[in-house]
Amino acid sequence: MGGFIKRHRWIAPYALLAPGVLWLLVFYVYPGIQMFIASFWSGTLETGFTFSVSNWTNYPDALQGASAQFVRSILYAGAATLLTFLIAYPLAYTIAFKGGHYKALLLFLVVAPFFTSFLLRTISWKIILGDSGLFLAPLKTIGLVPSDFRLLAEPVAVVSGITYNFLPFMTLPIYVSLEKIDHRLVEAAKDLYAGPWRPGGAIAGLVIGGLLGGVLGYIFEYSIPVFAIAAAAAGAIIGWFFISQSFTRVTFPLSLPGVFAGSLLTFIPAIGDYVNAEFLGNPGTTMVGNVIQNKFLVQNDYPAASALSFILMAGILVAVAIYARALGTEGLTTGRG
């Protein structure tokens, strides 16, 4: 056997690829084709489905019926990706550069929530964010927020849930890319006069914070100016105190492959997620995942559900292509920006 492999070395890569390829053929390509066919069906479960190319109208119909959910999915997944990035980056940075002997433990803590079921974790947020839950009850008692204020069943709850659930997917790739950076590069930057970034960092923080805050305010359906101002202030402070030129010129550019991978690993599952919207949202915060789930499992409207799935998939592919182009794929795949 060993001799055979030795004589036919070209086989080895294919042999190694085979299990993965088979798996994908059976569980991805085949159902995908099946679903593509289903998206051209008409009829009901009772009467049976018939295939016809003229049923392409399933696509515009499905899109029209779920356009609000599509927009919401993009906004919620985008906001969640942004928030996971803002939380994960400092976290990964600290573990990678200041973790010392505790690196392994800290990384374990990052993935520890995975030891609990996804559903349980999401439901526990329902308890935490509840109207008189852990978070709001004390604030209401001391009168910091009005007694009718709520977080649960609001967009902020859905986005928070997604952010929490996908945080490790953002943290780990960023950690890996930061971990790889040769510390001497940072020293070299400092040696070449890269000091604190002032006032540039504060100004950049102010502008970026203001913009992101405004967007989040819009998505959360809260006051846009309040969010914008608060985020601008936070951004300015972070920019002034924490952002150095060696970070903007060396560390951050070199960590972009991790940011890219992390944001894809967060955004793609988040945009199709329905669990967070189901448990933490209200009928006005449903995402496209909820619609697909409902059509497939409740209404048995397979054609519409399949068409929606395909639209979502195509949308993600286009978005990723644009994103990869913007960040430069060549640099990302080789690890050099």
Partner: protein, 404 residues
């Protein structure tokens, strides 16, 4: 045991540099501890303006830590660091007028060669036109014109080395720090770069502080060398002085090969030469200045300074001599290396140029009885630390006979 430069033995050609030179870097009683480990142990150092200064020593001797403290990457536990008279002990690297060539170059992989070289000037806010002209000039200096748009992963190690040099020199620092910059290159390229580095240093006239464990490299390039061991330097001086007049056993062994024989200085003799009674019963002479104030010593002589005579040949009267028996010979082309047994169970290493004797039949063969001779001025005297330590213990003498 620390040795101050001014206490070093004098040889005639010392003082090639002007006696009064401006000090580029001054370290005053600098200590660096990492936890319990003392990496740098009370170093006093003055690097002169415009000189090529090397910190030479084995790994773990504290040379890199010393360099990193000058660069600002480590803060000293105690002591003072001055750059051109300014106290920089607590200044971060980006506020010091020094630049560093890192061991593995540390080129920014995401930036082009041009942007790597321009990095420092950009941070300083220099105008684009000036950056362009200076970067072009620098790439010419390191003989890499036309490499502007390449990425660091598209150039060879030797080229990366040159880019690292250009990236540092473009900022016209007061002092350039080099941390084993040739360590990753192959031998041939290393030799080439040694010459190149020296040329560039002369051309730009910037003070170089160079860290290396390679004694040959240090000797080839340096104006002065500090030989470091266990957190301090044992001797500081010009390469030829370190080689001809090593003062400690460590220096004698680290730079080249040394033959060392224990002996006692005969205090009664006068004149230019001190008489030394070796433990093997032979009496030899050494320059008086080197033996002054010492009793138990190790007498040293370099292998290439020794001549082998046939027993019937006359050894010049003034020369040191002792009988010997050839134990081993290894022919190395340019020279032959002999191991010669001498009285007192000592074995000397002798290098003989293959001029007078070149063919196999002419070379000395193992078993031949010879006379070993060398000129007295080629003797050097090294303190016998083991004998000193033993004597100190016996008489409980607290004061060190040498150094601080």
């Amino acid at each position: 045991m620390r040795v101050r430069a001014e206490e070093a033995g004098r040889i005639p050609h010392e003082g090639r540099l002007p006696a009064v030179a401006n000090v580029a870097v001054r370290l005053v009683d600098v200590v660096k501890k990492f936890g319990e480990t003392v990496a740098v142990d009370h170093i006093d150092l003055e690097v002169r303006d415009g000189e090529f200064f090397s910190l030479l020593g084995p790994s773990g001797c504290g040379k890199t830590t010393t360099l990193r403290m000058i660069g600002g990457f480590e803060e000293p536990t105690a002591g003072l660091i001055e750059l051109q008279g300014q106290d920089v002990t607590w200044l971060p690297p980006y506020q010091r007028n020094v630049n560093t060539v890192f061991q593995n170059y540390a080129l920014f992989p995401h930036l082009t060669i041009y942007e790597n070289v321009a990095f420092g000037l950009r941070r300083k806010g220099v105008k684009e036109a000036e950056i362009k002209s200076r970067a072009t000039e620098m790439l010419e200096l390191v003989e890499l014109p036309g490499f502007e748009n390449r990425k660091p992963n598209q150039i060879s190690g030797g080229q990366a080395q040159r880019v690292a040099l250009a990236r540092a020199l473009i900022n016209r620092p007061a002092v350039l720090l080099l941390d084993e910059p040739l360590g990753a290159l192959d031998l041939k390229l290393r030799k080439q770069m040694q010459v190149e580095l020296k040329r560039i240093q002369k051309e730009v006239g910037i003070t170089f502080v160079y860290v290396t464990h390679d004694q040959e490299e240090a000797m080839t390039m340096s104006d002065r060398i500090a030989v470091m061991n266990r957190g301090h330097y044992e001797q500081l001086g010009e390469p030829e002085m370190l080689y001809e007049r090593p003062q400690t056993r460590f220096v004698a062994g680290f730079l080249g090969v040394s033959n060392l024989i224990a002996g006692r200085v005969d205090a009664t003799a006068g004149g230019d030469w001190a008489t030394i009674a070796l433990d093997n019963g032979v009496t030899v002479r050494a320059p008086r200045a080197l033996a002054e104030g010492k009793t138990r010593i190790l007498l040293g002589v370099r292998p290439e300074k020794i001549r082998l005579y046939e027993t019937h040949e006359t050894v010049p009267e003034s020369h040191n001599r002792m009988p010997g028996t050839i134990r081993a010979a290894s022919y190395m082309g340019v020279s032959t290396q002999y191991q010669v047994d001498v009285p007192g169970n000592r074995r000397l290493t002798v290098f003989e140029q293959n001029v007078e004797r070149a063919t196999k039949s002419e070379l000395w063969a193992p078993g031949e009885v010879v006379v070993v001779g060398w000129q007295p001025q080629h003797s050097f005297v090294v303190r016998d630390e083991s004998a000193e330590a033993a004597a100190e213990e016996a008489t409980e003498v607290a004061a060190e006979p040498f150094g601080e």
